[in-house]
Protein backbone atom coordinates (compact mmCIF):
# COMPACT_ATOMS: atom_id res chain seq x y z
CA UNK A 1 0.00 0.00 0.00
CA UNK A 2 1.12 3.58 -0.64
CA UNK A 3 2.15 6.00 2.06
CA UNK A 4 -0.35 8.57 0.85
CA UNK A 5 -3.33 7.78 -1.31
CA UNK A 6 -5.52 10.56 -2.69
CA UNK A 7 -8.83 9.49 -4.22
CA UNK A 8 -11.16 11.94 -5.99
CA UNK A 9 -10.28 14.64 -3.52
CA UNK A 10 -11.91 18.06 -3.75
CA UNK A 11 -11.30 20.98 -1.41
CA UNK A 12 -13.66 23.89 -0.98
CA UNK A 13 -13.11 27.14 0.84
CA UNK A 14 -16.19 29.08 1.98
CA UNK A 15 -18.34 27.31 -0.58
CA UNK A 16 -16.15 27.74 -3.65
CA UNK A 17 -13.97 24.97 -5.04
CA UNK A 18 -10.25 25.66 -4.77
CA UNK A 19 -8.93 22.29 -5.85
CA UNK A 20 -10.86 19.53 -7.60
CA UNK A 21 -10.52 15.86 -8.55
CA UNK A 22 -7.12 14.87 -7.27
CA UNK A 23 -5.97 11.30 -7.82
CA UNK A 24 -2.43 10.42 -6.94
CA UNK A 25 -0.37 8.33 -4.57
CA UNK A 26 3.02 8.58 -2.98
CA UNK A 27 5.12 5.44 -2.50
CA UNK A 28 7.84 4.90 0.06
CA UNK A 29 11.17 6.44 -0.92
CA UNK A 30 9.77 8.77 -3.58
CA UNK A 31 10.49 12.47 -3.91
CA UNK A 32 7.35 14.22 -5.06
CA UNK A 33 7.39 17.87 -6.00
CA UNK A 34 4.11 19.79 -6.17
CA UNK A 35 4.30 22.69 -8.60
CA UNK A 36 1.86 25.25 -9.93
CA UNK A 37 1.22 28.96 -10.01
CA UNK A 38 0.10 31.12 -7.08
CA UNK A 39 -3.41 30.16 -6.01
CA UNK A 40 -3.20 26.78 -7.71
CA UNK A 41 -4.12 25.05 -4.45
CA UNK A 42 -0.69 23.80 -3.41
CA UNK A 43 -0.91 24.97 0.19
CA UNK A 44 -4.46 23.66 0.47
CA UNK A 45 -3.31 20.20 -0.56
CA UNK A 46 -0.50 20.30 2.04
CA UNK A 47 -3.06 21.19 4.70
CA UNK A 48 -5.15 18.26 3.53
CA UNK A 49 -2.25 15.82 3.79
CA UNK A 50 -1.50 17.08 7.30
CA UNK A 51 -5.18 16.80 8.32
CA UNK A 52 -5.40 20.51 9.06
CA UNK A 53 -8.19 20.78 6.49
CA UNK A 54 -10.69 18.13 5.52
CA UNK A 55 -11.56 17.51 1.88
CA UNK A 56 -15.18 18.22 1.00
CA UNK A 57 -15.25 15.16 -1.26
CA UNK A 58 -13.11 12.04 -1.59
CA UNK A 59 -10.48 11.03 0.91
CA UNK A 60 -6.79 11.02 1.65
CA UNK A 61 -5.52 7.77 3.17
CA UNK A 62 -2.24 7.25 4.85
CA UNK A 63 -1.02 3.69 4.66
CA UNK A 64 1.95 1.42 5.17
CA UNK A 65 1.98 2.00 8.90
CA UNK A 66 2.24 5.79 8.58
CA UNK A 67 0.36 7.74 11.24
CA UNK A 68 -0.65 11.30 10.41
CA UNK A 69 0.97 12.73 13.46
CA UNK A 70 4.29 11.24 12.41
CA UNK A 71 4.53 13.42 9.32
CA UNK A 72 7.49 15.79 9.60
CA UNK A 73 6.37 19.20 8.45
CA UNK A 74 8.45 22.19 7.42
CA UNK A 75 6.01 25.12 7.33
CA UNK A 76 6.61 28.50 5.79
CA UNK A 77 8.09 30.82 8.38
CA UNK A 78 5.92 33.43 10.03
CA UNK A 79 7.15 36.92 10.85
CA UNK A 80 6.65 36.36 14.57
CA UNK A 81 9.06 33.42 14.44
CA UNK A 82 12.02 35.30 12.98
CA UNK A 83 12.71 37.15 16.22
CA UNK A 84 11.60 34.43 18.60
CA UNK A 85 13.90 34.08 21.62
CA UNK A 86 14.65 30.36 21.64
CA UNK A 87 17.78 28.26 21.29
CA UNK A 88 18.25 25.96 18.32
CA UNK A 89 18.15 23.01 20.69
CA UNK A 90 14.80 24.10 22.16
CA UNK A 91 13.29 24.51 18.69
CA UNK A 92 14.48 21.13 17.41
CA UNK A 93 13.45 19.38 20.61
CA UNK A 94 9.90 20.63 20.14
CA UNK A 95 9.75 18.32 17.10
CA UNK A 96 9.73 15.38 19.50
CA UNK A 97 6.46 16.58 21.01
CA UNK A 98 4.43 13.87 19.28
CA UNK A 99 6.40 11.16 21.09
CA UNK A 100 5.65 12.82 24.41
CA UNK A 101 2.00 11.85 24.68
CA UNK A 102 0.64 12.89 28.06
CA UNK A 103 4.06 12.90 29.72
CA UNK A 104 5.18 16.38 30.75
CA UNK A 105 8.91 16.11 30.00
CA UNK A 106 11.19 14.75 27.27
CA UNK A 107 13.03 11.44 27.65
CA UNK A 108 16.75 10.89 27.15
CA UNK A 109 16.14 9.10 23.85
CA UNK A 110 14.33 12.20 22.55
CA UNK A 111 17.32 14.35 23.39
CA UNK A 112 19.71 11.90 21.73
CA UNK A 113 17.60 11.96 18.59
CA UNK A 114 17.84 15.76 18.49
CA UNK A 115 21.65 15.58 18.58
CA UNK A 116 21.61 12.96 15.83
CA UNK A 117 19.51 15.15 13.52
CA UNK A 118 21.62 18.23 14.24
CA UNK A 119 24.73 16.25 13.25
CA UNK A 120 23.04 14.96 10.11
CA UNK A 121 22.28 18.52 8.95
CA UNK A 122 25.71 19.81 9.95
CA UNK A 123 24.40 22.36 12.46
CA UNK A 124 25.55 20.74 15.67
CA UNK A 125 27.75 23.74 16.48
CA UNK A 126 24.66 26.00 16.40
CA UNK A 127 23.00 23.99 19.17
CA UNK A 128 22.99 26.68 21.85
CA UNK A 129 22.81 29.68 19.52
CA UNK A 130 19.67 31.78 19.50
CA UNK A 131 17.27 31.05 16.66
CA UNK A 132 16.67 34.73 15.92
CA UNK A 133 20.37 35.39 15.32
CA UNK A 134 20.72 32.81 12.54
CA UNK A 135 20.70 33.47 8.81
CA UNK A 136 17.68 32.45 6.74
CA UNK A 137 19.43 29.32 5.48
CA UNK A 138 20.45 28.27 8.96
CA UNK A 139 16.92 28.84 10.27
CA UNK A 140 15.57 26.60 7.50
CA UNK A 141 18.02 23.86 8.49
CA UNK A 142 16.91 24.13 12.10
CA UNK A 143 13.27 23.76 11.09
CA UNK A 144 14.25 20.84 8.84
CA UNK A 145 15.93 19.17 11.82
CA UNK A 146 12.75 19.67 13.82
CA UNK A 147 10.72 18.10 11.00
CA UNK A 148 13.12 15.12 10.94
CA UNK A 149 12.61 14.67 14.68
CA UNK A 150 8.86 14.54 14.24
CA UNK A 151 8.83 12.08 11.34
CA UNK A 152 9.50 8.42 10.89
CA UNK A 153 8.85 8.18 7.17
CA UNK A 154 7.49 11.22 5.48
CA UNK A 155 8.63 14.84 5.26
CA UNK A 156 6.30 17.52 3.95
CA UNK A 157 8.15 20.70 2.95
CA UNK A 158 6.25 23.89 2.15
CA UNK A 159 8.34 26.24 -0.02
CA UNK A 160 11.61 25.46 1.78
CA UNK A 161 13.82 27.75 -0.33
CA UNK A 162 11.72 30.94 -0.22
CA UNK A 163 13.91 33.93 0.52
CA UNK A 164 17.21 32.07 0.29
CA UNK A 165 20.08 33.13 -1.97
CA UNK A 166 21.13 30.76 -4.80
CA UNK A 167 24.03 29.20 -2.87
CA UNK A 168 21.92 28.46 0.22
CA UNK A 169 19.14 27.19 -2.03
CA UNK A 170 21.51 24.70 -3.67
CA UNK A 171 22.83 23.55 -0.31
CA UNK A 172 19.35 23.01 1.06
CA UNK A 173 18.30 21.01 -2.03
CA UNK A 174 21.38 18.82 -1.70
CA UNK A 175 20.57 18.23 1.94
CA UNK A 176 16.98 17.25 1.15
CA UNK A 177 18.22 14.88 -1.56
CA UNK A 178 20.63 13.34 0.93
CA UNK A 179 17.81 12.83 3.43
CA UNK A 180 15.77 11.21 0.68
CA UNK A 181 18.55 8.87 -0.46
CA UNK A 182 20.53 8.06 2.69
CA UNK A 183 17.90 8.35 5.40
CA UNK A 184 15.26 6.75 3.16
CA UNK A 185 12.66 9.38 3.96
CA UNK A 186 9.86 10.03 1.55
CA UNK A 187 9.68 13.70 0.52
CA UNK A 188 6.66 15.76 -0.52
CA UNK A 189 7.72 19.29 -1.40
CA UNK A 190 5.81 22.33 -2.58
CA UNK A 191 7.90 24.69 -4.66
CA UNK A 192 7.80 27.80 -6.76
CA UNK A 193 11.22 26.99 -8.01
CA UNK A 194 10.43 24.70 -10.94
CA UNK A 195 14.05 24.15 -11.96
CA UNK A 196 15.07 22.94 -8.52
CA UNK A 197 12.03 20.73 -8.45
CA UNK A 198 12.73 19.09 -11.79
CA UNK A 199 16.39 18.61 -11.00
CA UNK A 200 15.91 16.75 -7.73
CA UNK A 201 12.43 15.20 -7.64
CA UNK A 202 11.46 11.72 -8.78
CA UNK A 203 7.80 12.61 -9.37
CA UNK A 204 5.92 15.79 -10.26
CA UNK A 205 2.37 16.83 -9.40
CA UNK A 206 1.32 19.93 -11.34
CA UNK A 207 -1.73 21.72 -9.95
CA UNK A 208 -3.90 24.47 -11.36
CA UNK A 209 -7.23 24.34 -9.51
CA UNK A 210 -7.17 20.69 -10.49
CA UNK A 211 -4.62 18.01 -11.29
CA UNK A 212 -2.89 18.98 -14.54
CA UNK A 213 -0.12 16.40 -14.43
CA UNK A 214 0.98 13.59 -12.19
CA UNK A 215 3.76 11.17 -13.00
CA UNK A 216 7.46 10.59 -13.23
CA UNK A 217 9.76 13.55 -13.70
CA UNK A 218 11.13 12.17 -16.98
CA UNK A 219 7.62 12.08 -18.47
CA UNK A 220 6.84 15.57 -17.16
CA UNK A 221 9.85 17.09 -18.93
CA UNK A 222 8.63 15.55 -22.21
CA UNK A 223 4.96 16.52 -21.72
CA UNK A 224 3.41 19.59 -23.29
CA UNK A 225 2.47 21.22 -19.98
CA UNK A 226 5.87 20.48 -18.52
CA UNK A 227 7.74 22.02 -21.42
CA UNK A 228 5.53 25.08 -21.36
CA UNK A 229 5.89 25.63 -17.60
CA UNK A 230 9.64 25.12 -17.53
CA UNK A 231 9.99 27.31 -20.62
CA UNK A 232 8.06 30.16 -19.02
CA UNK A 233 10.31 30.10 -16.00
CA UNK A 234 13.42 30.26 -18.17
CA UNK A 235 12.15 33.36 -19.95
CA UNK A 236 11.99 35.28 -16.68
Amino acid sequence: MSLINCENVTFTYEGSIVLADLNFCVERGEYLCIVGENGAGKSTLIKGILRLKNPSKGSIFTGDGLKTKQIGYLPQQTIAQRDFPASVYEVVLSGKLNSLGILPFYKRTDKEDVIRQLKLLGIEDLKSRSYRELSGGQQQRVLLARALCASKELLVLDEPVTGLDPIMTGELYDLIKKINKEEKRTIVMVSHDIKGAVMYASHILHLGKTQLFFGKKEDYVQSEIGMRFIGVEEDD
Binding site: L50, R51, L52, T68, K69, Q70, I71, G72, Y73, P75, T78, A80, Q81, F84, P85, A86, S87, E90, V91, L93, S94, G95, L97, N98, L100, P104, F105, Y106, S128, S130, R132, E133, R146, A150, V156
Partner: protein
Amino acid sequence: MINTFQQMLSYPFLVNALVVGILVSLCASLLGVSLVLKRYSMIGDGLSHVGFAALAVAYAMNVAPLTVAIPVCVIAAFLLLRMNENSKLKGDAATALLCSGALAVGVMTISLTTGMNTDVCNYMFGSILSMSKFDVQISIGLSIVVLILYVLFYNKIFAVTFDETFAKATGTHSDFYNMLIALLTAVTVVLGMRMMGALLISSLIIFPALSAMRICKHFRSVIICAAILSVVCFVVGIYFSYMHSTPTGASIVIADIIMFLLFAMVEKIKER
Protein backbone atom coordinates in the same frame (compact mmCIF):
# COMPACT_ATOMS: atom_id res chain seq x y z
CA MET B 1 16.15 49.16 54.81
CA ILE B 2 16.09 45.79 56.59
CA ASN B 3 14.49 47.52 59.55
CA THR B 4 11.76 48.91 57.33
CA PHE B 5 11.11 45.45 55.96
CA GLN B 6 10.83 44.02 59.45
CA GLN B 7 8.42 46.80 60.28
CA MET B 8 6.41 46.04 57.12
CA LEU B 9 6.22 42.35 58.01
CA SER B 10 4.70 43.15 61.38
CA TYR B 11 1.49 44.21 59.63
CA PRO B 12 -0.53 41.10 58.75
CA PHE B 13 -2.21 42.81 55.77
CA LEU B 14 1.19 43.63 54.28
CA VAL B 15 2.38 40.06 54.72
CA ASN B 16 -0.74 38.88 52.89
CA ALA B 17 -0.13 41.40 50.13
CA LEU B 18 3.48 40.31 49.76
CA VAL B 19 2.68 36.60 49.57
CA VAL B 20 -0.22 36.98 47.15
CA GLY B 21 1.64 39.61 45.12
CA ILE B 22 4.76 37.51 44.65
CA LEU B 23 2.75 34.47 43.56
CA VAL B 24 0.59 36.49 41.17
CA SER B 25 3.66 38.27 39.74
CA LEU B 26 5.24 34.90 39.04
CA CYS B 27 2.14 33.61 37.25
CA ALA B 28 1.73 36.82 35.27
CA SER B 29 5.33 36.91 34.08
CA LEU B 30 5.36 33.26 32.97
CA LEU B 31 2.14 33.60 31.00
CA GLY B 32 3.22 37.01 29.73
CA VAL B 33 6.10 35.54 27.73
CA SER B 34 3.74 33.35 25.73
CA LEU B 35 1.13 36.08 25.33
CA VAL B 36 3.64 38.65 24.05
CA LEU B 37 5.22 36.18 21.62
CA LYS B 38 1.83 35.05 20.32
CA ARG B 39 0.86 38.70 19.78
CA TYR B 40 -1.92 38.39 22.36
CA SER B 41 -0.67 41.20 24.62
CA MET B 42 -4.03 42.93 24.65
CA ILE B 43 -5.87 39.95 26.10
CA GLY B 44 -4.74 40.84 29.63
CA ASP B 45 -6.15 44.31 29.19
CA GLY B 46 -9.46 43.05 27.83
CA LEU B 47 -9.83 40.54 30.65
CA SER B 48 -9.06 43.08 33.36
CA HIS B 49 -11.87 45.33 32.17
CA VAL B 50 -14.26 42.41 32.20
CA GLY B 51 -12.98 41.66 35.69
CA PHE B 52 -13.76 45.22 36.73
CA ALA B 53 -17.35 44.86 35.54
CA ALA B 54 -17.66 41.54 37.37
CA LEU B 55 -16.31 43.06 40.59
CA ALA B 56 -18.77 45.92 40.35
CA VAL B 57 -21.68 43.53 39.88
CA ALA B 58 -20.46 41.33 42.74
CA TYR B 59 -20.21 44.37 44.99
CA ALA B 60 -23.73 45.45 44.07
CA MET B 61 -25.08 41.96 44.79
CA ASN B 62 -23.08 41.78 47.99
CA VAL B 63 -21.29 38.49 47.24
CA ALA B 64 -17.61 37.59 47.50
CA PRO B 65 -15.93 39.36 44.54
CA LEU B 66 -13.64 36.55 43.40
CA THR B 67 -16.45 33.99 43.15
CA VAL B 68 -18.10 36.12 40.47
CA ALA B 69 -15.05 37.59 38.78
CA ILE B 70 -13.15 34.34 38.14
CA PRO B 71 -15.88 32.46 36.23
CA VAL B 72 -16.87 35.59 34.28
CA CYS B 73 -13.28 36.24 33.22
CA VAL B 74 -12.71 32.63 32.24
CA ILE B 75 -15.77 32.79 29.98
CA ALA B 76 -14.56 36.09 28.53
CA ALA B 77 -11.15 34.57 27.79
CA PHE B 78 -12.85 31.71 26.01
CA LEU B 79 -14.93 34.13 23.92
CA LEU B 80 -11.94 36.32 23.09
CA LEU B 81 -10.00 33.39 21.67
CA ARG B 82 -13.00 32.22 19.68
CA MET B 83 -13.40 35.69 18.23
CA ASN B 84 -9.70 35.80 17.39
CA GLU B 85 -9.90 32.59 15.44
CA ASN B 86 -12.95 32.47 13.31
CA SER B 87 -15.00 35.58 13.16
CA LYS B 88 -15.37 38.64 11.04
CA LEU B 89 -14.40 40.78 14.02
CA LYS B 90 -10.62 40.79 14.00
CA GLY B 91 -8.76 40.05 17.23
CA ASP B 92 -7.74 43.56 18.24
CA ALA B 93 -11.14 45.00 17.41
CA ALA B 94 -12.86 42.29 19.47
CA THR B 95 -10.61 43.07 22.43
CA ALA B 96 -11.22 46.81 22.19
CA LEU B 97 -14.94 46.17 21.99
CA LEU B 98 -14.90 43.98 25.07
CA CYS B 99 -12.71 46.47 26.98
CA SER B 100 -14.93 49.50 26.64
CA GLY B 101 -18.14 47.49 26.74
CA ALA B 102 -17.25 45.86 30.04
CA LEU B 103 -16.05 49.14 31.52
CA ALA B 104 -19.39 50.73 30.65
CA VAL B 105 -21.32 47.89 32.29
CA GLY B 106 -19.17 48.22 35.41
CA VAL B 107 -19.55 51.97 35.70
CA MET B 108 -23.30 51.74 35.06
CA THR B 109 -23.75 49.12 37.76
CA ILE B 110 -21.82 51.20 40.26
CA SER B 111 -23.67 54.42 39.58
CA LEU B 112 -27.06 52.71 39.84
CA THR B 113 -26.24 51.07 43.16
CA THR B 114 -23.62 52.58 45.43
CA GLY B 115 -22.48 55.55 43.41
CA MET B 116 -18.86 56.48 42.78
CA ASN B 117 -16.86 56.10 45.97
CA THR B 118 -13.43 55.02 47.22
CA ASP B 119 -14.27 51.34 46.59
CA VAL B 120 -14.66 52.08 42.91
CA CYS B 121 -11.37 53.91 42.88
CA ASN B 122 -9.79 50.87 44.49
CA TYR B 123 -11.10 48.62 41.73
CA MET B 124 -9.63 50.91 39.10
CA PHE B 125 -6.23 51.59 40.59
CA GLY B 126 -5.84 48.82 43.15
CA SER B 127 -5.33 48.69 46.88
CA ILE B 128 -3.59 46.19 49.10
CA LEU B 129 -6.10 46.83 51.86
CA SER B 130 -9.00 45.43 49.90
CA MET B 131 -8.32 41.72 50.37
CA SER B 132 -10.25 39.65 52.88
CA LYS B 133 -8.89 36.49 54.47
CA PHE B 134 -10.94 34.37 52.08
CA ASP B 135 -9.50 36.31 49.13
CA VAL B 136 -5.99 35.65 50.34
CA GLN B 137 -6.54 31.92 50.71
CA ILE B 138 -8.18 31.57 47.32
CA SER B 139 -5.44 33.67 45.68
CA ILE B 140 -2.65 31.58 47.14
CA GLY B 141 -4.37 28.31 46.20
CA LEU B 142 -5.16 29.32 42.63
CA SER B 143 -1.80 30.85 41.83
CA ILE B 144 -0.06 27.69 42.99
CA VAL B 145 -2.35 25.70 40.68
CA VAL B 146 -1.46 28.05 37.79
CA LEU B 147 2.26 27.62 38.47
CA ILE B 148 2.02 23.81 38.63
CA LEU B 149 0.00 23.62 35.41
CA TYR B 150 2.49 25.89 33.68
CA VAL B 151 5.46 23.70 34.66
CA LEU B 152 3.65 20.49 33.68
CA PHE B 153 2.70 21.83 30.26
CA TYR B 154 5.87 23.86 29.71
CA ASN B 155 7.10 21.88 26.68
CA LYS B 156 3.71 21.92 25.03
CA ILE B 157 3.21 25.62 25.69
CA PHE B 158 6.60 26.30 24.11
CA ALA B 159 5.73 24.30 21.00
CA VAL B 160 2.34 25.98 20.59
CA THR B 161 3.86 29.43 21.17
CA PHE B 162 6.66 28.91 18.67
CA ASP B 163 4.72 27.30 15.87
CA GLU B 164 1.04 26.53 16.16
CA THR B 165 0.69 25.00 12.70
CA PHE B 166 3.57 22.59 13.21
CA ALA B 167 2.29 21.56 16.62
CA LYS B 168 -1.15 20.92 15.15
CA ALA B 169 0.24 18.96 12.20
CA THR B 170 2.18 16.65 14.51
CA GLY B 171 -0.89 15.87 16.58
CA THR B 172 -0.80 18.40 19.43
CA HIS B 173 -4.14 19.92 20.30
CA SER B 174 -3.10 23.53 19.78
CA ASP B 175 -6.58 24.84 20.45
CA PHE B 176 -6.63 23.16 23.84
CA TYR B 177 -3.32 24.71 24.84
CA ASN B 178 -4.35 28.14 23.56
CA MET B 179 -7.41 27.79 25.72
CA LEU B 180 -5.30 26.73 28.67
CA ILE B 181 -3.08 29.80 28.29
CA ALA B 182 -6.13 32.07 28.11
CA LEU B 183 -7.74 30.37 31.08
CA LEU B 184 -4.66 30.67 33.27
CA THR B 185 -4.35 34.30 32.18
CA ALA B 186 -7.94 34.98 33.18
CA VAL B 187 -7.38 33.54 36.65
CA THR B 188 -4.12 35.47 37.07
CA VAL B 189 -5.68 38.74 35.95
CA VAL B 190 -8.52 38.47 38.43
CA LEU B 191 -6.20 37.56 41.29
CA GLY B 192 -3.82 40.43 40.56
CA MET B 193 -6.51 42.97 39.85
CA ARG B 194 -7.44 43.76 43.45
CA MET B 195 -3.94 44.83 44.23
CA MET B 196 -2.83 46.33 40.92
CA GLY B 197 -6.15 47.74 39.77
CA ALA B 198 -8.11 46.94 36.63
CA LEU B 199 -6.31 49.59 34.62
CA LEU B 200 -2.81 48.53 35.61
CA ILE B 201 -2.85 44.73 35.85
CA SER B 202 -1.93 44.07 32.22
CA SER B 203 1.45 45.74 32.75
CA LEU B 204 2.28 42.99 35.24
CA ILE B 205 1.87 40.55 32.35
CA ILE B 206 3.66 42.42 29.61
CA PHE B 207 6.57 44.32 31.14
CA PRO B 208 8.67 41.51 32.64
CA ALA B 209 8.41 39.47 29.42
CA LEU B 210 9.38 42.42 27.24
CA SER B 211 12.30 43.38 29.48
CA ALA B 212 13.61 39.82 29.60
CA MET B 213 13.43 39.53 25.82
CA ARG B 214 15.74 42.53 25.43
CA ILE B 215 18.65 40.51 26.79
CA CYS B 216 17.89 36.79 26.97
CA LYS B 217 18.10 34.70 23.85
CA HIS B 218 16.77 31.32 24.91
CA PHE B 219 13.16 30.60 25.77
CA ARG B 220 13.97 29.09 29.13
CA SER B 221 16.23 31.96 30.13
CA VAL B 222 13.57 34.47 29.05
CA ILE B 223 11.06 32.69 31.29
CA ILE B 224 13.39 32.60 34.30
CA CYS B 225 14.56 36.17 33.81
CA ALA B 226 10.97 37.44 33.45
CA ALA B 227 9.94 35.64 36.64
CA ILE B 228 12.83 37.13 38.64
CA LEU B 229 12.28 40.62 37.22
CA SER B 230 8.59 40.45 37.99
CA VAL B 231 9.13 39.53 41.64
CA VAL B 232 11.94 42.08 42.09
CA CYS B 233 9.85 44.90 40.60
CA PHE B 234 6.92 43.90 42.76
CA VAL B 235 8.92 43.98 45.98
CA VAL B 236 10.65 47.25 45.04
CA GLY B 237 7.27 48.77 44.12
CA ILE B 238 5.55 47.75 47.33
CA TYR B 239 8.53 48.94 49.41
CA PHE B 240 8.46 52.33 47.72
CA SER B 241 4.71 52.50 48.13
CA TYR B 242 5.04 51.79 51.86
CA MET B 243 7.80 54.35 52.37
CA HIS B 244 6.19 57.19 50.46
CA SER B 245 2.49 56.24 50.75
CA THR B 246 2.07 56.04 47.00
CA PRO B 247 -0.54 53.78 45.32
CA THR B 248 0.81 50.21 45.22
CA GLY B 249 -0.21 49.33 41.65
CA ALA B 250 1.26 52.46 40.12
CA SER B 251 4.49 52.10 42.11
CA ILE B 252 4.99 48.57 40.81
CA VAL B 253 4.35 49.62 37.23
CA ILE B 254 6.85 52.49 37.54
CA ALA B 255 9.44 49.99 38.81
CA ASP B 256 8.65 47.82 35.77
CA ILE B 257 9.07 50.75 33.40
CA ILE B 258 12.46 51.67 34.87
CA MET B 259 13.57 48.06 34.58
CA PHE B 260 12.43 47.92 30.95
CA LEU B 261 14.34 51.09 30.07
CA LEU B 262 17.46 49.74 31.77
CA PHE B 263 17.26 46.48 29.83
CA ALA B 264 16.59 48.28 26.57
CA MET B 265 19.69 50.40 27.17
CA VAL B 266 21.83 47.34 27.88
CA GLU B 267 20.57 45.80 24.64
CA LYS B 268 21.53 48.91 22.66
CA ILE B 269 25.00 48.98 24.24
CA LYS B 270 25.50 45.28 23.48
CA GLU B 271 24.57 45.81 19.83
CA ARG B 272 27.36 48.33 19.32
